[in-house]
Amino acid sequence: MHRELLITREPIDEPALVASRAAHPQCGAVVTFSGLVRDRESDSGIEALDYTAFVPMAEHQFARLFDELEQRWPVASVRLVHRLGPVAVGEASLWIELLAPHRAEALAACQWLIDELKRVVPIWKQAVR
């Protein structure tokens, strides 16, 4: 399984990421997920979310999740970008791309990966109002 992980303070350039997708001719399904900062958090308006991480542990926990993902589904490629620092409303804090032979496994793996990262990857957010 091809894997790329980037934890960065730069904005996530989604079109550029899509344009840089490598060919996997046995794959019929590409699922991408972008997590955007919403304009409300806990029922009150915000301007941004400020993300912080314990980076070495976050990288290690992502690697563990990718290992498990590879065991569970025939995913050929996973690319994941998580942004740190202030992320304005409407901007992406998270971008995930999964390639798999068929759609059902790509969608299931995407759901699982997001659920798990929200459980174990040490990244936190604080509302900026």
């Binding site: 997590g35 993300y51 912080t52 991480a53 314990f54 070495p56 542990m57 976050a58 990288e59 290690h60 926990q61 998580h82 804090s93 998270l94 997001i114 990262l117 929200k118 459980r119 174990v120 990857v121 040490p122 990244i123 936190w124 957010k125 604080q126």
Partner: protein, 81 residues
């Protein structure tokens, strides 16, 4: 033995510090370390049940036995994505 403790996210504001060193008897567990941290920083104590604990970059439970110079991290539930 001495272990280094890193606090993350709003645990830093609650404790008023990001990092501390704690001296413990040899063979002390992560649970014993938590007792000591909560004695030093009582505002963290009410959050004990939701506190996540790691040694290095791996999660460990409260029965985990610590070693000299271990780097322990304490933090609230994660919120990435």
């Amino acid at each position: 033995m001495t272990v280094k403790v890193q606090l993350w996210s709003y645990f830093r504001e609650l404790a008023g510090c990001a990092e501390l060193e704690v001296v413990l008897p040899d063979g002390a567990t992560l649970g014993r370390l938590l007792d000591e941290v909560h004695r030093l920083h009582p505002r963290l104590a009410p959050l004990r049940n939701s506190t996540l604990t790691a040694v290095g970059v791996e999660y460990q439970g409260q029965s985990h036995v610590l070693c000299d110079h271990d780097e322990v991290s304490l933090f609230p539930p994660v919120q990435g994505g």
